[in-house]
Amino acid sequence: MSTIRMRISPAGDVLDVKALIRHPMESGNREDKSTGEKIPANYIQKLMVSVNGENVMDGNLSEAVSKNPYLNIKVPGKKGDEVKISWTSNTGESDEASQAA
């Protein structure tokens, strides 16, 4: 199952894109309480949004973004446009999801 959930509401010539990504966003500063060892950093660094294949937003995130990152942006577009969201983490993991408005 994709880690990305999105909801797109067309309003006139603007698409309101809301996305929720399932990700721990580990800062690397936390300790595992049972072992006392540091949990390695694991957070999303790049978050990209495109509409009909055209890149509209290129986001750079840090460990100061909350766990399970939420993003709401507004992009010019209309019903039926294909919105694609993708992410890449500092550990090299990635995921993407597409949805028609």
Binding site: R30, D58, N60, A64, I73
Partner: protein
């Protein structure tokens, strides 16, 4: 026989050179992958340094045309909803800063087609201003909103 030995030696030399480069972090796969992630800006421990690393300038003017929406009081610093919106023409980059966080730059968004509106949820270590910085045609503008944090969101 002699020539083959020469070829073998050359080959192994080249291979070990590549191995050394990877070992020294010169060819780290991670660095290649996140080449355009502004690492120096995110590693900066002061807001001025982070601004300089990210935008190449620390010259930021206060603007009433930027709205930073955040709660007055956040009981949990681990999840603080923040919205930054700009009505300045050519706003093509939006960044969120929390100056007292260990690394003040929280996130930056390059908007090549999206409207200058970004809403997300961030972590705050203590009571502080959340600052939205907008790059509009090479000029930097900012607005801030104070958030009182009851429990910090950086520790475990």
């Amino acid at each position: 026989m002699q020539t083959k030995r020469r070829v073998f030696l050359k080959g192994s030399l080249a291979a070990s050179a590549a191995g050394l480069a990877v070992g020294a972090g010169l060819l780290s796969p991670r660095a290649v992958l996140a080449a355009d992630w502004p690492e120096a800006a995110f590693d900066s421990d002061s807001m001025d340094n982070a601004l300089n690393e990210l935008f190449g300038s620390g010259d930021v003017a206060d603007s009433g045309d930027i709205t930073v929406k955040a709660p007055d009081i956040a009981e949990n610093g681990a999840v603080v909803p923040v919205t930054v919106e700009s009505s300045i023409a050519d706003s093509n980059q939006v960044a969120i800063f929390v100056s007292k966080n260990p690394t003040p730059l929280v996130a930056s968004f390059d908007l090549s087609g999206a409207n200058p509106f970004v809403s997300t949820r961030i972590r705050m270590g203590e009571t502080d201003d959340v600052t939205g910085v907008v790059n509009a045609g090479g000029k930097l503008f900012k607005a801030s909103k104070e958030v009182k944090v009851t429990i910090g969101g950086c520790g475990g």
